[in-house]
């Protein structure tokens, strides 16, 4: 076993147990990504001290960076493990679970907070039934489509939340990913029906006021979602909504 792949993994047996580090070495093979390497380790869960241990737990689905399930810190950077190619990484490859979400086990975290927040801001397009409404579908300009397409690629992976200094367990901040989704759905002709509701949700405690403009979120997003653009846009929309509430109620 000349060439090896060396992992250093932060493990935790359960939600409330103490974390600990464990190292693994496996034979090198070209073109591994972190998940495929972890699959190998699941078959051969032997650490560097030769002990057979419980295999490392993690989540993954799509294996092509579109589901977001495999997000973790790879060498300290929040990203999708399935898209992290071993050949590109410095060794030992350090894997840690995301720090802003409750840990289920080892590298698997519970991102439920994000899904709850999506519900809170009504991040969907309302439909009032499947009957014929005798209207053609709303028309959307290609320029709008292009911007919205970018927003629509968000996979709720949580990398932006991980990098945001304002998002942590002592703050009620809703987190950057939600701004992309609110901007997306507010700009949709039918989705816009809920615009005021969404803006009010963002004006509630923990909403947009929680953002400190550090702009880390945009830098780490694997899908290049223009979150800072969304934050600026929603800053404007909430300003207008606020004035409207003040003057028209």
């Amino acid at each position: 076993m000349d060439k090896v792949i060396h992992f250093k993994i932060k493990r935790q047996d359960g939600p409330n147990s103490q974390p600990y580090w464990e190292e693994f070495k496996m034979p090198y093979a070209p073109q591994h990504n972190v998940i495929s390497a972890l699959l190998y380790l699941r078959e051969h869960p032997v650490n560097t001290r030769g002990q057979r241990v419980a295999p490392v737990a993690w989540e993954s689905n799509c294996m092509e960076e579109v589901c977001g399930a495999c997000s973790m810190l790879v060498n300290g950077v929040p990203r999708q493990a399935c898209a992290a190619l071993v050949d590109d990484l410095e060794q030992p490859i350090v894997l840690e679970p995301l720090t802003k979400f409750p840990i289920i086990r080892d590298l698997a975290v519970d991102r439920q907070k994000m899904f709850d927040a999506l519900i809170r801001v009504k991040a969907w397009v309302p439909l009032d039934g499947s009957q014929d409404v005798h209207e053609p579908a709303p028309r959307i300009s290609p320029a709008d489509q292009a911007l919205r397409y970018v927003y629509s690629r968000c996979m709720t992976c949580g990398c932006c939340m991980e990098a945001c200094p304002q998002y942590h367990d002592h703050s009620d901040f809703i987190g950057p990913a939600l701004f992309g989704q609110v901007a997306l759905h507010n700009s949709h002709p039918t989705g816009g029906f809920f615009k005021a509701d969404r803006l009010h949700a963002l004006m509630d405690p923990g909403g947009i006021a929680g953002c400190g403009n550090a702009q880390n979120c945009f830098k780490v997003c694997p899908k290049d979602i223009p979150l800072t653009h969304a934050i600026g846009e929603l800053g404007r929309q909430t300003t207008v909504q606020w004035l409207r509430d003040l003057l028209m109620k």
Binding site: F173, D204, Q215, R236
Partner: protein
């Protein structure tokens, strides 16, 4: 997102944060510019400085103006700012991006400025609490009085100067970066490009404000006589020149060295 009943600060988080952002520009930022403007007249000569300070002291309703447009906003911005500062967990070591540095520096300069403003107020505005004559009583020799505050009051001059250099720089950065975040918060600059341009303008402004402050500091601490003797002569204020600047305040309490 917990369902404990939120306090006032939480319930009006959005409104308070917006007012916090606004108060940093109007009136505090404007006051900062005005203050730098007045101070820098020291560079044009003690006479000019004395005249401008006197004009301010002659404003009607001065205590009310001072309270409503300076002390109240400062207290609001400062106290709420302290509350906000606790909400962030700095992570610039992990994510050393330029904007993250600015976010971090905005918080660091906030603390420095807070301490500096407190010192500055005690140093001049409220020094009379400690037995120094009131600033207003220096009439009409404000320049000399201020200079004395730097050179012969409580601390060695170099220490005052260091404090003011640091304080003025921190305040300038905090204000200029505050303009950038103000424009994001209120949705004035939305796109990344517009933000970059504004940051550039703010950066230049920051340097200008710092230099502007240093010029005043230089003038107030080193210039010993009116720089523009010509202006002096033009006013024909002979007897004023002959009046020793310190004379009025060589009272025992102010003259400890």
């Amino acid at each position: 997102m917990t369902d404990t009943t939120p306090g006032l600060l939480d319930r009006y988080q959005f409104q308070l944060r917006r007012l916090h952002s606004l108060s940093g520009i109007v009136p505090i930022g404007f006051f900062l510019l005005f203050h730098l403007l007045t101070n820098s007249t020291a560079f044009l000569g003690a006479e000019r400085y004395d005249t401008h300070v006197q004009q301010i002291h002659d404003l009607p309703w001065l205590p009310v103006i001072e309270f409503l447009f300076i002390f109240l906003p400062l207290a609001f911005h400062g106290i709420l700012g302290i509350a906000i500062a606790w909400q962030g967990k700095l992570n610039v070591r992990q994510y050393p991006y330029m904007d993250n540095w600015r976010y971090t520096l905005q918080r660091i300069t906030a603390w420095i400025t807070l301490v500096f403003v407190a010192i500055h107020l005690l140093h001049f505005r409220f020094a009379y609490w400690f037995g120094v004559p009131e600033y207003a009583s220096a009439h009409p020799y404000f320049f000399a009085f201020t200079q004395k505050g730097f050179l012969h009051l409580w601390l060695p001059a170099w220490l005052w100067i260091c404090m003011y250099v640091i304080g003025v720089s921190a305040a300038a950065f905090h204000f200029c970066n505050g303009i950038v975040t103000f424009c994001i918060t209120w949705g004035i600059t939305v796109g990344v490009e517009s933000r970059k341009k504004l940051s550039l303008v703010a950066g230049v402004l920051c340097i200008v404000l710092m230099l502007w402050g240093f010029v005043s500091l230089y003038a107030l601490t080193t210039m010993t006589r009116p720089a523009h003797g010509a202006a002096e002569a033009a006013r024909g204020s002979e007897q004023r020149i002959s009046t020793p600047y310190m004379a009025r305040h060589e009272t025992p309490s102010a003259a400890r060295e």
